[in-house]
């Protein structure tokens, strides 16, 4: 009974965090929300008696993928602002998602 309630609560938490990931437009902030979603999903996987999968999810989906996203955002921002400095100032660079 307790296990069922726990799984149900974690399922709803996963749905809410997942919605937050898709609706966060700015990529740098979205990386952090993705990391939080990965953590909630990892806890749900532990509640579903899948510790191997939870380890992989937290290692890859919560630590490594958001790190890659943050590095990509840093690189793209620098690249687009360098390009903006070169062209005419009436071109607006769009960097927000």
């Amino acid at each position: 009974m307790i296990a069922d309630v726990l799984v149900g609560v974690l399922l709803i938490a996963t749905a809410i965090t997942g919605t937050a990931v898709a609706l966060t437009r700015e990529p740098m902030r979205q990386a952090l929300v993705l990391s939080a979603y990965g953590l909630v999903l990892g806890v749900l996987m532990v509640a579903l008696q899948a510790p191997d999968v939870a380890l992989a999810q937290i290692g890859i989906g919560t630590a490594i993928v958001p790190l890659l996203v943050v590095l990509t955002v840093a690189k793209v921002d620098r690249e687009l602002s360098a390009r903006e400095d070169e062209t005419e100032p009436d071109e607006a660079g769009e960097r927000e998602g």
């Binding site: 999968v53 989906g61 793209v76």
Partner: protein, 122 residues
Amino acid sequence: MSDLFGVLPYAVAAWILLVGCYGIATSRSFIHVVVCLSLVQSSTYLLLLMVGWSRDATAPVFGDVDPGVPVVDPVVQALTLTDIVVGGAVTALLLSLTIQLAKRQGSIDPDRIRSLEEELEE
């Protein structure tokens, strides 16, 4: 309670899939698209694990329980593990492509990038 478990896991997996697709379709940055794609892939992990789950069963590791105790489905967990690793690798590759796109085209807006040729003038 069993009625709830007939609906809630499928509903959550379907909701995350649809929300991710909505995020991809209304996106204005390719990095946002890649993260939403990763979200859509994670809904399949959820569905696979819920299919393998059994009530009153424990994890499929016999280090501390005796053989003979009911365990959840290990085959589905192996599939999900492969899914996570491959999904992470694909996300890394897509992010490298996004960096290349920013360098070559000067923009990562999906609406502004219409062709693979260089020197996009808008």
